[in-house]
């Protein structure tokens, strides 16, 4: 497979106007490759740099340093070639002309993507059908639900028949059913051979639709893996916290195989941190079996997972 998106040492800084502090580094030396026909997820918390990367790849921003190509075209020097071959969808309510109808919105964007009028008529109709909005095609967008608007966004992103589709947090704010429907549509797009680059902060979403996922945090790309591997990492490092954990149980957990640390904080909560599959479940069984009810569990941050894995035993899993 060939690389559809390729970045090398990509860096982006922002300088605030009238600010005496230095520039903010949004992306710091990103090396990324997205293969043809895959759904590639970019997973990271808010502020990690996901949207900045999408904006550079879609020619909205110019990188401070490094290079980025889409379908072999440079995103700085070959802007026109890139724009003709990509589609872009942002999540959320914004981005549509809400006083216009769904069809009028798509007609407008089709023209801006140089789609011939006759082709546009056919394509707009079929896209509206595909995203389940054919019956509401001539209703104003302001009457649409959030899920309907997001499906219209997707249709807008596809109206130029792009080879690569960039989706930036496309399901943010959607209810579970709308998210599920949206993910099904993304799967259909991939089945047509298009490449999809999707950003999300939701591991479940990444697992559900992506072929590969890159972890990003604080502007740095941590790793790229299959979602199943990342999911296992997250499960493996799921922690258990217990309030007022008795000393005998602390000692028991400290010697339990697969537990990497047991730490008690001044607020009375003790965190038991496993580093092997299924151990969190075993810890919970012991805690609940001893009659303790003040217990909670949680997933590690992506960075914690990364540090656990990379700092401990390398990448083999």
């Amino acid at each position: 497979m060939s690389a559809v998106v390729k970045t090398q040492a990509l860096r982006r800084e922002f300088r605030a106007r009238r600010s005496k502090s230095g520039p903010v580094v949004a992306l710091d030396g990103i090396d990324l490759t997205v293969e043809q026909g895959e759904i590639h997820g970019l997973l990271g918390p808010n502020g990690a740099g996901k949207t900045t990367l999408v904006k550079i790849l879609t020619t909205i921003l110019i990188p401070s340093d490094g290079t980025a190509t889409v379908l072999g075209f440079d995103v700085v020097d070959q802007v026109e070639e890139v724009r003709r071959r990509i589609g872009l969808v942002f999540g959320g309510d914004r981005g549509l002309y809400t006083r216009l109808t769904a069809r009028q919105n798509l007609d407008y964007w089709a023209a801006l993507y140089d789609v011939p009028a006759a082709t546009a008529r056919t394509r707009v109709g079929s896209l509206l059908e595909r995203v389940g909005l054919a019956e509401r095609a001539d209703d104003r967008v302001e009457e649409f639900s959030r899920g309907m608007r997001q499906r219209l966004h997707l249709a807008r992103g596809l109206v130029g028949d792009p080879e690569v589709l960039f989706l930036d947090e496309p399901t943010v704010g959607l209810d579970p059913m709308a998210s599920l429907r949206f993910r099904e549509l993304v799967g259909e797009i991939r089945a047509e051979g298009k490449t999809v680059f999707l950003t999300t902060h939701d591991m479940a979403e990444a697992e559900a639709v992506c072929d590969r996922v890159s972890l990003i945090d604080r502007g740095k790309l941590l790793t790229t893996e299959r979602p199943a591997v990342l999911g296992r990492w997250l499960n493996r490092f799921e922690w258990v916290e217990v309030h007022e954990l008795p000393a005998d149980l602390i000692a028991r957990f400290q010697s339990m195989p697969g537990v990497s640390s047991v730490e008690t904080r001044p607020d009375g909560w003790t965190r038991v941190q496993p580093d092997a599959d299924g151990v969190a479940h075993g810890v919970l069984e012991v805690v609940v079996g001893s009659g303790i009810t003040a217990v909670r569990t949680g997933s590690p941050s992506l960075e914690e997972v990364y540090l656990h894995v990379m700092g401990g035993r390398g990448m083999e899993l």
Binding site: I60, L61, Q104, Y108, A111, L112, D114
Partner: protein
């Protein structure tokens, strides 16, 4: 070309659904009555045409600058500016086309002003040169579109461009000979006014309505057209430069 036409049509659709657009038109009757009252009070029937032309051009200009200016402002606030930036069609084509749509609709102020004059003072305007008037109004629409698009493009750079829109309007209308002919302004102001397309337009409109014979029509129309088209070209180029700049600075993403 297809993109420009689509942008024009889209903006027409938006304008018909946007009450704010028509609010600007509603100021025309009040302004027309104001000017006609002054003319009437001083018993100067020779200035009636002036009193109708002034509110017409003022409203057209305000519509171009304010409603046209909202094209970029609304796109920015609604998250559409970035989508335009990522599209193959230059925003430098989209913005003038959309402002042109607004300006075309703004021509409705002409019948509004004429109707106001007739309903309030029973005045009927006898136009001496209808075709000259039509041609001049078309070129005024072109010129206003180009100039308004230049001012509009500034809103990409700064959310404080409202100040520019406000402060540019009054001197522009004055130098454009909208309130009084350029010939009545101080001598030093006249050369400045001659660089403003509107001064040629307002003179031609007045002459077309009131003068039995109008001198130098082809040359004056060409100058009006040239200045108007120059505004278009400058707006197109300026938007391209500004869009490039905000890609570097990241200001395109400012909400």
């Amino acid at each position: 070309m297809r993109a420009a036409v689509a942008a024009f049509r889209m903006q027409l659709g938006l304008a018909f659904r946007t009450p704010n657009f028509w609010m600007a038109q509603l100021t025309t009757p009040a302004q027309t009555i104001l000017f006609l009252s002054v003319v009437n009070a001083f018993d100067r029937p020779d200035l009636i045409a002036y009193a109708i032309i002034a509110p017409t051009l003022i409203t057209m200009w305000n519509t171009g600058v304010w409603t046209g200016g909202s094209v970029v402002r609304d796109d920015r606030w609604q998250g559409r500016l970035e989508l335009h930036a990522a599209a193959p069609t230059s925003y430098g084509i989209v913005v003038p086309a959309r402002v042109a749509a607004v300006m075309t609709l703004a021509l409705t102020v002409i019948p509004i002003a004429l109707a106001t004059a007739w309903l309030t003072y029973g005045i009927e305007i006898d136009v001496q040169h209808p075709w000259l008037l039509v041609a001049t109004m078309v070129l005024i629409v072109v010129g206003t579109t180009g100039t308004a698009a230049i001012i509009t493009s500034m809103t990409i750079l700064s959310r404080a461009a409202n100040t520019l829109q406000s402060s540019a309007s009054y001197p522009f209308l004055l130098l454009g000979g909208v309130f009084v002919p350029l010939a009545l302004l101080p001598v030093w102001a006249r050369p400045l006014g001659r660089a403003v397309f509107l001064s040629w337009g307002s003179d031609l409109v007045r002459d077309g309505i009131t003068q039995p014979t109008v001198d130098g029509v082809p040359g004056r129309l060409m100058i009006l057209a040239g200045l108007g088209l120059a505004g278009f070209v400058v707006a197109h180029r300026l938007i391209r430069v500004i869009m490039r700049r905000v890609r570097v600075t990241g200001e395109i993403s400012i909400q």
